[in-house]
Amino acid sequence: MEFPYIFWWVFAWMIFWSVTGSIAARRSYMRRDLDTTNASFVGAMLGASTGPFGLVPLCMKTPNITTRMMVVPALASVGVLMIAFGFADPGNFCVSNGSFVASQIVNGLIIGIIYGFMALGLTLIFSILGVVSFAHGEFYMIGGMITYFLTSVWLPGINPIIAIALACLAAFVLGAVFERMFLTPMYEGKIDRPVEYGILVTFGLAFTLQYFVQATAGANPLKASRYFDFPRIRLPSSADPWLIKTSRGNMELFDTVSISNPRFTAAVMCIIVFGLLMLFLHRTWTGKALRAVSQDREAAAIAGINPDRMNMLAFALGGMIAALAGALLVQAFSWLPQVGAIPAMRSFVILVLGGLGSIPGAFVGGVIVGLFEAAGTGCLPDAQKAASYIPAYGMIILTLTLLLRPTGLFGRRFASGAHGQF
């Protein structure tokens, strides 16, 4: 960084005023006996973006908090931070090189879609069972492992789609069996702390699966070969392909943004499956029953839906979605038994950021996390440090969300069941 002090002073100023703002806004709303759920968030964001100039009127007038009052200051504080960074480090690629920024954004979007898809599984589980599955990353790992072994070791030459489907099926069955064997006592009221039980028992599953795979498949990194090749396209002409240029493993847009094939296919398939899942959830009886259970368990039971069945289905489906994400990404990343930890963390972040059991929240949250990580890895001046901090970016979002707005982006304020509490 050329002028680090600019950035750090702005940063310190923002932190100071956001902390002050979150406390002061909450206090002043509390004193007037108003709704304080979003007061600390608005206070923090307004403090970060405008300093005392926005805070004082907020605390004096305590207006009703609208969505716009939350979105605008939040975006403004991100903007202020970006501008400060731009002034502090004018030589950085993130500031000076437009094509670098564009490719970072596109890569962030693509990886964000995949994360969001994976978090969708966790959201499904959480909204219906009220449990955060700590084994989500292991389902992801299993999906990738099975697909790798099917396509590369056991049945080389198999159509990758079939291999992916088989991996999904295996994860589905595993999820269903696990749910029947270990999660059923949660619903029967036999356990006084069901949520904690669910967390610990899925934690145990994660531990077991991880070492089971390490014992059977070994700890060497594996990587599946590319599933599909891009067709060769050059537009508008093969001599001057400024719009799009593809080779078998790579795609280049506008001469600047390069997207690798595995990520692109993964993202596209995620979007397709997401669409199918939406159809399933909104058009079929079972899907509607799932959503009904997530909204109100007792009412759904009265309407003739067996909530226990839906629990099993939700857990199995959630595991399957994670496995699908893994099966799609095993061609992009090298695969280890421990590979599930980082995507699992990201899913937790997205789950919290998107809001309790909110499906659009999962997708938007995924994209935000993807972009944030792309910005973090691309823009931090010290590349090695930036790479080491990768696991932390998401967790910073998570802690901030939990502190300022525990309902997340699209969270319902009064959710039913065990997840009504924070």
């Binding site: 009221g189 006084d192 440090k385 967790m395 509490q421």
Partner: protein, 404 residues
């Protein structure tokens, strides 16, 4: 002796056995067994303090190893960067301290070249052995680490006040991961993945009862760790029996009801975080001085799952059961290392033992909710009470309690 006295007698006997064991045991694998025991005590402190936090207070935190890491890294950084010297180096940051100088070594991180050594090493080459510098006392580092753990426990305790259940678990997990990422990223200061080295617990050896122990001897760290474990257990049993324990359990059962009855939930929730994280930090600091290296991988989530599993298998609502569970499991894990063959297959037990262990964890959670050791203690101490409760339960008609 009545039956309810048996656990106390057994506990006393166990402590005596642990106290006498290093003097009696004389087989060839003595250092190995001692090492397992020290590690077992270390995990026992972590597991029992976690069970205090999770089982007693109902705060299922996944950041416990983060606190351990704070203790260990504070001790490590303290011994790594602070020295006392009678002569100023004039290169380092230094402050007069009595008639000595407190030297703060500049962080240089891991470098392969010998040219960019830190300022103190340069000064030492200039002095060429004429000046004797003193490293900071180990115990001061351990105390600092413990205090640091308490400070962070206070901070985290304050931050997680409004969070419950899954959110608390995710938040503490986030804290631990951020800490780990920060430690592995700030290579200049913490030396990243390479880990930071620490001096021996007793760097110049120690003489106890007329017998001199070398710095590599396992006996002094064994007793330090055992003493720390007993101290922690004593504090926690005392706390659990006192009003604090009662309030904290009320907090676990129903926070709102406890608050309505006048329990200062904020204070006790924060306090339990502070106490348990101080214990974890102290254990981490001592352990780091014993194994003499600490790396960010010691804070990994898998290590946390080990601690959780130990506490759960031992009995998460009983600190002593959790401690015993940890020692037993540490032993079992080490003894299960031997690979064996079934027909054509060779089972590599170094990995398979964890699979067995994970299955055991799930089964213990599913079928033995109070763990495997806690019910044993309960059976002796509260056998008569249990019988009465069962009688009352069978007397109540079925179905009066709806599913919650």
């Amino acid at each position: 002796m009545t039956r309810s006295r048996i656990p106390q007698a057994a506990g006393l006997a166990l402590v005596l056995i642990f106290a006498v064991f290093p003097f009696v045991y004389a087989r060839a694998d003595y250092p190995f067994i001692m090492h397992i025991l020290i590690t077992g005590f270390f995990y026992a402190i972590l597991a029992s303090s976690w069970s205090m936090l999770a089982g007693y207070a109902g705060q299922f935190s996944f950041g416990h190893l983060g606190f351990m890491g704070i203790g260990a890294y504070t001790a490590a950084l303290f011994s790594h960067y602070f020295y006392l010297s009678p002569v100023p180096t004039n290169i380092c940051t230094e402050y007069p301290f009595g008639d000595l100088y407190l030297i703060i070594v500049n962080p240089i991180g891991v470098t392969s070249s010998t040219l960019s050594q830190d300022c103190l090493r340069e000064a030492l080459t200039i002095w060429n052995g004429s000046v004797q510098i003193t490293p900071m006392p180990v115990w001061l580092g351990i105390i600092l680490g413990t205090v640091m753990g308490g400070v962070f426990g206070l901070l985290i305790g304050l931050l997680v006040l409004p969070l419950r259940a899954a959110y608390l678990a995710l938040f503490t997990l986030g804290f631990s991961e951020i800490l780990r990422a920060a430690i592995s990223a700030e290579i200049e200061i913490t030396r990243g993945q390479a880990g930071i080295e620490l001096p021996y617990l007793f760097d110049s050896g120690i003489t106890l009862f007329g017998r001199h122990f070398d710095k590599t001897d396992k006996l002094p760290p064994y007793f330090v760790m055992l003493f720390l474990l007993l101290l922690c257990l004593a504090i926690m049993t005392w706390l659990a029996k006192s009003k604090f324990g009662m309030f904290v359990r009320a907090l676990r059962e129903d926070q709102d009801a406890a608050a309505a009855l006048g329990v200062n939930t904020t204070r006790y929730k924060v306090l339990v975080f502070v106490v348990t994280s101080m214990m974890a930090a102290a254990a981490g600091a001592v352990m780091a001085h014993y194994i003499r290296i600490i790396t960010p991988n010691n804070l990994m989530i898998l290590q946390m799952s080990l601690v959780v599993a130990m506490a759960v298998i031992g009995g998460v609502e009983n600190v002593i059961a959790a401690a015993i569970g940890a020692i037993v499991i540490e032993f079992a894990l080490e003894l299960l290392r031997n690979s064996f063959e079934i027909g054509p297959f060779t089972l590599d037990m170094t990995v398979w033992r964890f699979v067995v262990f994970g299955v055991l964890l799930m089964l213990a959670l599913r079928f033995a909710r109070n763990g495997l050791i806690a019910p044993l203690i309960e059976y002796f101490t509260r056998g008569h009470v249990a019988k009465e409760t069962v009688a009352i339960r069978t007397a109540t008609p079925e179905g009066t309690e709806g599913p919650s």
